[in-house]
Amino acid sequence: MKIYLDNASTTKMSDAALAAMTSALKEDYANPSSLHSMGQRMKELLETARNDVAERLGALPSEIYFTSGGSESDNQAIISVAKSALKTGKKTIITTAFEHHAVLHTLEKLESEGFTVKYLPVGKTGNVSAEQVAAAIDEDTCLVSVMAANNEIGSLLPIKEIGAVCKDKRVPFHTDAVQAVGHVKINVNKQNIDLLSLSAHKFHGPKGIGALYARRGVRLKSLIEGGAQERGKRAGTENLPAILGMAAALKEETSNIEANAKKITAMRDKLIKGLSTIPHSVLNGDTKNRLPGNVHFCFEGIEGESLLLLLDSYGIEASSGSACTSGSLDPSHVLLAIGHPHEIAHGSLRLTISRYNTDEEIEQTIPAVKKVVERLRNMSPVWRDKVNGVKPFLLP
């Protein structure tokens, strides 16, 4: 028996996405740039997919660029705006301390090229306010990049309000919406978004495909040269099977977004309630404004990798922001950003739910996590010191 609770890492493909891909892989294999009739039919399929993606985001088809995924979209969005700003001399970018590394590492690169980056603190709850963004914007600001939902702790950020501030101050607003699209409602106009990154495999589409929305008037720079695809902004033969799979997945998920969110939120709250009974633990992230499928805890006295490996032996597939899972010794920057000391940040567990999970799976997961936490605590010298009063407990 396997219980897959790592849906923020990637999701199982839906039947709709798989069917759309399979026909393109089997029969519709021509190059959309070819002039023969099969090629032209592929071009039509490509543009239909673009229309579908645009429609689901409230965008124009000409504002959608297909990319290899969220990381590429983030890179292209940020680099494009920054490079365009060179003409104006504005060199400050505003972001948050807990963005995905696709954003943070791109910004670090720009910092080394002379840009200034302001990292807004995310507080204990793990969120930022539009007021924080407004206060940070000044005459030198060329871009605001704030994620729509945090990939580790699941906080939903007030992007509509942040977008309104940016619109008012005439600063381009990019949002990394990789965790949000397909799970919470997104409309680029209603939410005042100028650039948006999305990735298909986070909403039951295929891996290796994503899109960048760039509002008309935003000048994109190509990161990949060599062809006129995507209106000259992204060279390379289009990955049509994946694009069709993504469009099918997005259509399906956005059509059922409310019903899915309701079902997933109920499982999430059940899981949170069950795990909250573990003493000396904390639920991370915004408790109110939270992704429907995100459960993220820190357990005092234990380390995340061993927690994951033992859960795996119970058939539960989860993830952690633990340092040991990533090959570095530093724990997650997200957990440090919300103010956890290293010791607590090491003991993290992320369980992320999709519509393919069931109530029974959640019911089996709760006692398994409890058992594993208890077992690891019983062999932890840190835990013993706390129980014996040698060291203080850090979590209630």
């Binding site: 234990i302 380390e303 061993s306 490996l309 010794l329 724990p331 932890s380």
Partner: protein, 140 residues
């Protein structure tokens, strides 16, 4: 390839010698919670023989497996042998560790040495301080 060898997984899932020893003759603790690894070794020593050994570990799978294997390797052995135990021997006995996890085996070696030093110091037994200096471990 799996992250860990079958032996690592076996020692992680079924760790040998977990626990504490009341009135242990030597106790050694290394690592720190900030880095995510703490190992504590308890020794019972009779006539220079390690008659019992227990460990507690806060850390990742390879840290738990390294402690478990290290205790197996020194149980019932003379102190002299325990002192010669290297982190490489621990890692080899586990059929290898990923390169970035080798520091876990270093912690196991250090924890045992600390426990033996503790025993020597408690009992006023002279020992060569130079030989017991912690090895350089750039990762912890």
């Amino acid at each position: 390839m799996a992250l860990y060898s079958e032996k690592v997984m076996d020692h992680f899932k079924n760790p040998r010698n977990v626990g504490t020893i009341d009135n242990a003759d030597g106790v050694g603790e290394v690592g720190n919670a900030k880095c995510g690894d703490i190992m504590k070794i308890y020794l019972k020593i009779d006539d220079d023989i390690i008659t019992d050994v227990k460990f507690e570990t806060f850390g990742c799978g390879s840290a738990i497996a390294s402690s478990s294997m290290a205790t197996e390797l020194i149980k019932g052995k003379p102190l002299k042998d325990a002192l010669e135990l290297t982190n490489k021997a621990v890692a080899e006995a586990l059929d290898g560790l990923p390169a970035y996890k080798m520091h876990c085996s270093v912690l196991a070696e250090q924890a045992i040495k600390r426990a033996i030093i503790d025993y020597y110091e408690k009992n006023g037994i002279p020992y060569d301080k130079e030989a017991y200096a912690d090895r350089e471990d750039d990762e912890t």
